[in-house]
Point group: D2
Chain length 364, copies 4
């Protein structure tokens, strides 16, 4: 075992959801040690949060943190950015400039212009940029990707992806909801950015196909909401055709992500409701239920098949991959990067443009 | 019990699939007796098929049949039309003109023009016109419709409907496939007509909303196929938004019909994979699994809950309703009629037009 | 097509559940025509019920019916006996004596002594005796039986079967419940006879193994109930071991029948909740979902795979097999007969004896 | 946040399964820090393993470790014992004697006599003894326990629990299997001890009822196997009746744990296949799908509902509870302790005795 990678965090103060997830994910496989943070822009809250986590060093400003940590021999090697979307670009720039690897929550930025700026910077930097598209960390999603890449599906024809929630079905309330429906913080996109980018990434990640053009119909169902809360999108992905549904207002669907891919020779289905399974069907043969740890499985497994892994483990996989990237200097092929982040923001921008143009097909 | 209604059949000779289904459906609840048929346009096959079924009277021409049966005191009271799509209009006209009730398979016709002609004729006729949109016969689909109509969902926001098959994933072979991919027999639409009309009807039937406009992307994936075999459609239904996916080329999906509806206050999910269940979720409450024959169920049940009913029973429900319609003179509200057939063909035509216009929103 | 077999019915007057099921099952595949009945021991109710069904001939006494029908040239060829358990033996004897085939509901009799008497009579008779163990009519149950018989599972080790309901969880009320909890009508067994015989038959039918000995723990949970309403049984089946749970008092389980069989080389799972599927797993390979009408399926299918068949269709399969038996003179191997009925009553008697002996292993 | 609890480990060297699980579980909620270990009885392997984990202190003998750590100011406060069953007692005694809290894998010991000895010692010690019955850490298992305790089920009648695997269906091979089928290491019980104790604990834990007597049929199906690999058990739990099936030889069941409980007023079903759900049915009402994080949920959640937690999280819950116990001095009511371990070994011994007595009811 290599020594643990020293990790910092921007955002993720007390009460934050995704910051706590990043910390559990970083801890699970024991490749990181959280030692510093700028956990809140409110100095007092930053300090209290840092103390509660037992952090060695607490900052109230991420710029100070980047400079100070870069100057220390025992400074952080990587930073997790877990602020709202509009606060991704600035810290990412600061840490990349300081030569510190960045693990950034999604969507990558609030706007496409920010994404383009960040992409240029990240590509010019020696530090790695990693984007936490969680679903890319699920073992059976990776297994699906491997199966598609092996050619077992033949030429892909159809991609259908859904990401459906209900927690924003009423005028939002609470810390998690507030910033997500405020364009100043979330960016122009609502559901299309918050979960639509996950769905779009999943479709691309498994199919191996780009999303070339979209025809989108975005809607804000809740009165007074300034961003979309439901998105219907038709996709063209090379010669394949697809559909994407992202909704945060459909009662009964807490967090249902599902993907179906049909090729000339075989088809695949994965659902977040049973993440440890993959239904794989060759034309003319019975459907097979492939499982993590089961026959033919080639991926990573912390515990044997039948002992369910879930969301935190998927997230932890991204952190383990990030540790590999940082240690080896090479980005693993399965790990989302800045290009995925740019693709995501192009998708958001194209969907918004298409929807404003009454659903006209719009290139990414 | 009233005496059984005397039934005739056009089409449905030996080897036909849907004709046999109509006969089982007509028999199940014992409201009909099949006594006459023009089972094939090939006189010999018509005769052989009629003998095999023990029919009292066999015809080789449906026009002759309509005239002869109308003239008999013991002539048929209703006729089932189970020919390929392009052969629906002519027999329907003949029997309606003879005052004989028509039970017609879907889609109603091969073209919208035919549908309009038939609608005018049917509306002017004293005879009933019934369209066998099978899914409207499933008890839990009707329960879903009742729940929506009760207002339990509040204002509907989102409708998502899929009908996915794989049996036409390769160049078609066999009697069932051949006519479905031949525009001369199926009409302009392929999957969009054959199963897309089912999906569209299901969406309208349960939601109670019209499909006003569509943006469609139709595709023929199989080389040389003259009709679409995959259809992606975005829907506008009043203030609601929807998506529809109809595919006959997605491996692993034998015949999966599913419907999800989200309203302001509650949501519903139904799947043909478990047709006896309905998932119903009021916002902020646990999902409930409503079942046929279970608590609060108000529909029809031949056997107690837990003893699964399926496709034939759903089809039989339409025949029982038809028997009610014929006996009472009043169309039951839950029974698809000529207007549903016209709506279906308008949907097909609009989808084709939209797809040709590169997905432009097209009114029905 | 052969002419329809003329069928009579004993029991099944208005309000009866299982009589109506037998009639639908007999009708579905169009092999029978119901022409006569002694539908109730109450002459007036018998007559009213017969008229409602449009029967040609109604009797108030099954002995009269057996004699009269046997004497007619157009008399019934087979009779369905759908009375409560204690009223199976007498009519079965009467019709067998008259040379009329008997299709009898389960359990075969109220007591083992009656079962032994009936078995001797049936075996000596030229008329067929058919027992409607419904689950033996499900296509995927038969597929499971075929797979086991093919040797694909290797030597069988474990058989686990459940039949769980909740409708008798409270002191019974209503026509269906009343006779089932009255030992004078149901016989000594309650749940163990009413549904336990189904479960035991299913275990034997698919595994191909006899139930040799049982260790049983029967219970009457509802106050004042004179028969068991929950049964736990350990089974020895040749070298295999099994468990059987039959319950009519477990809330949330409407009518859940499930079977799991493990052999040296492969395992099978079937559940009545998804009757069209069979999970089949060879050791070291992914589970396969086998389906009616799907790849490798060798059974009977009225409608294509993906169009669900259910309980009535399974029941109808027994009637179609009965029609084959009557027409050909040979009992199909898949059709439950008098020996199955005797096995069932031996199972009930052994379970009751074992339970009274505090669970001592008791041979059948 | 309190400082992390200093943790040691006995067993769990390289290649061990459950040791790695304990470490992930201890890490996830950041309440422990692993600082010392006697990871193997082979000194070299102990040292290599400790170095790979970055442990501060490595021992080759657990007695030395207990003494040395107790003597240090910064010595471990708790120890995880993750050796094979026969090596639980001795280290547990050593650490309890040293005043160090013990977190012990299950089953508690190899024999009942050992369990009784350990119970006496643990009850006399000020140090805590915690047993890692993992399933007691699943949020929806705890929710089930809470619901039963609330009286919502009324008086419990039936408890049905299964734990079914297939990984020992052939003569065992590999490190994990070898010791489990060696009575010198596993103890007298095979499947009944390894997974039967989990199932028995789950039944008791949720129902709140003791297992008073058992009637068991144990079997060793694999040739030459010295311990049972399949166990069928009937249970008497107060006035309730139950069944338990533990199998390690049933193909197709990787690690399926399921529990069904029926009371007078309501029933519950939980399955490890979908651990985040609980089916709850009040008699006469629709089944409800209760979920972690969903309406009415009162338990602990690291991530929102719909983001699946699994096995590691359940295990981590036991560690978090252990941290609470250690910090506060009070054992949380939901945390398995030495009495649970003793109950488990009494269950194993009673099952073996019953099976040897041909299934005679045997008190625990």
């Amino acid at each position: 075992m290599s020594a643990r990678i020293r990790l910092g965090m921007v955002g993720g103060g007390q009460g934050a959801f995704i910051g706590a997830v990043h910390r559990m994910a970083a801890r699970l496989d024991d490749r990181f040690e959280l030692v510093a943070g700028a956990l809140s822009s409110d100095p007092e809250r930053a300090e209290t949060s840092a103390r509660a986590l037992g952090l060695a060093r607490s900052y109230s400003d991420f710029n100070d943190m980047a400079l100070a940590e870069a100057a220390r021999e025992d400074g952080i090697q990587a930073v997790a950015i877990v602020t709202p979307n509009h606060m991704h670009l600035a810290p990412a720039k600061a840490f990349l400039a300081a030569g510190i690897h960045v693990i950034c929550d999604k969507p990558m930025t609030a706007t496409l212009a920010q994404a383009e700026e960040l992409t240029a910077i990240a590509q010019a930097s020696d530090a790695k940029f990693i984007l936490t598209h969680t679903y890319a960390g699920y073992p059976m999603v990776r297994e699906a990707r491997r199966i598609v890449a092996s050619g077992a599906l033949g030429k892909i024809r159809v991609v259908n992806v859904n990401y459906v929630q209900d927690w924003l079905a009423t005028p939002a309330a609470g810390k998690q909801a507030d910033w997500r429906v405020d364009p100043a913080k979330s960016g122009e996109g609502g559901a299309i950015a918050d979960i639509g980018t996950h769905a779009a990434h999943l479709a691309r990640y498994v199919s191996g196909l780009p999303i070339d053009t979209v025809a989108a119909d975005l809607q804000s169902f809740v009165d007074g909401r300034a961003v979309d809360d439901n998105a219907h999108v038709m996709l063209r992905m090379g010669d394949a055709r697809g559909m994407l549904w992202a909704s945060q207002v459909t009662p009964g669907f807490v967090n249902e992500v599902s993907l179906r891919i049909g090729g000339e020779d075989a088809g695949l289905e994965w659902s977040h409701l049973r993440p440890e399974e993959l239904r794989f069907t060759r034309l003319g043969e019975p459907s097979q239920i492939l499982t993590r740890g089961g026959p033919f499985f080639e991926g990573n497994a912390r515990v044997p098949g039948g002992h369910p892994e879930g969301y935190i483990e998927a997230f932890a996989q991204l952190y383990s991959d990030a540790a590999d990237a940082i240690t080896s200097g090479d980005m693993p092929a399965d790990l989302p990067d800045v290009q995925d982040g740019l693709d995501g923001m192009r998708f958001v921008a194209a969907c918004i443009a298409s929807s404003r143009a009454d659903g006209a097909w719009t290139a990414l």
